[in-house]
Every structure is written in C-alpha cells, then in structure tokens.
Symmetry: C2
Subunit: 137 residues, 2 copies
C-alpha cells in the first residue's frame, strides 16, 4: 500500500472471521504502533464537509474508518498522497508532522482516531508556512 | 445510567459538534479509564448471532458501538444488567471479572473494544462455574 517518506502508511489489521462475524485486531507491536492516551470519533459529517488541515508536532495517530468511507490527504512536506479509508480492518498510521485534510465522507461514516498524547493545543500546527518550515520544505 | 457493583457502567464522551459534524472525545482521566494495549472491532455480525460468554481475570475493556446498536449483558457475579449501546459517544466500561454476552446486533453494527492488556488466552474465564467461584457467588 502507498506510504510517505515520513512513515505514513496504511496497513491491515489481523482478521479472525467465523460464523459469528468479523473480528479485526490490533495490538502493540502488531497494528498498534503506540499506546493511546486519547481517542476521538468523528461522526455525522455533513455532505461536502472537510476537516483537519493541521499537523501535530509530537502526537502520533492511527485512523480507522470504522463505518463508511473517507479520504485523508497526507503531506509530509515532501510528498502528498490521498489515502481512501473504507474498511474497519484497515488503519492509517500518521506520524508527527503529517499535514492531514479529511474529505469525501460518504453518509454514515464514522472515523476512529487513536492518539498517542493527551490533548494539547500547543501541539497543533495550523499554519501551512510554519509546517513547511518545520519539515524543511 | 445503570451500573453494576463491580464498576461496570455506561458514560458519555465529551461532545464537540459544529458545522463540520460531530466529534466525541475520550482521554485518560476523562472517559478513557486505562491506556489501551489492544483494540478490536467486531463487524459483519449475522442476524441473530451472539458473541462473548466469557470474562477476563485482569483485562479491563471499554466498548463503544461506533455504528449501529447491540446489547451487552453484564454480570459481576452478583447482579446482571443489559446495556444497550447505540451511539458513538457512549462507552461501556467493563472491569475485570465481568461476564459479558453480546447480542441483538442491528445490521451494520460495528463494535469497538479497547483492552488494557495484550492478548493472553490464560486471561479468559470461559467456564461459568469458575466465574461463580472467582466472584464468590
């Protein structure tokens, strides 16, 4: 699957399906790259809405489209790539200093994001010029 | 919301809704009672299927119906209670030694479970008689 030079990448979780349904599993060292301190769920996104447009200085994130589909445009300061999330058994790992823009949500989409750090407003980079400076672009 | 004597309980995550949609947030100390070492997603459950029917010796869990609805029957050895999970901004905290049975899934339901420990087959209690013994029932 596509990846950026800074480590941004999609991967599949382990699958254990049987007559009772599907089970996707990720744990530390196998699909879960860090121990989360925070989670958030984005839901009820109106048609055409866009979210994101920022990067984090230190926080790592793991994004999963647990229902529906959306596109996350990722930029590490050198390369830009669109990742389409469409399954609850796929995760997108977002290392620090990855600029993300979320869009093209289908109705009913729920996006789970696990974050390595508690919320800290100072961790957000919202100015594209500062992002380019931080990534040496 | 209802709770069992061992600490099993439902709670609401913090909500931040605006024109771009809904955002539910939980972090350590506020909606996230432990730092997860594992997550799993249960999806594509056939109509009428039941899952669970076990408890954990040490592992704590947090369950969220990120899409759809299901019922989790919880038993702490003294009291039994059915919790209906129906929203991505509600979590059910399951402390150790809570016997759970999952059922009444609506089509399209996706259940997120965060677990405090890595997978360990020896942590599962699958024998009801052993569960009653462990909980002093």
């Amino acid at each position: 699957m596509p990846a950026l030079g800074n480590g941004t990448r999609m991967f599949r979780f382990a699958q254990h399906a049987d007559a009772r349904g599907g089970l996707s599993v990720a744990e530390l060292g196998a699909g879960l790259p860090f121990r989360p301190a925070r989670l958030f769920l984005i839901h009820d996104v109106p048609a055409g809405a866009r979210r994101g447009a920022h990067a984090h200085r230190r926080c790592c994130q793991l994004a999963v489209a647990v229902a529906g589909e959306l596109t996350i445009r990722c930029d590490d300061g050198r390369t830009r790539e669109d990742f389409r999330l469409r399954r609850p058994d796929e995760g997108l790992y977002l290392p620090p200093l990855t600029w993300t823009e979320l869009g093209q949500f289908v109705p009913g989409t729920v996006l789970l994001v696990l974050a390595s750090e508690p919320y800290d407003a100072a961790d957000y980079v919202r100015d594209p010029a500062e992002f380019r400076r931080l990534t040496g672009g």
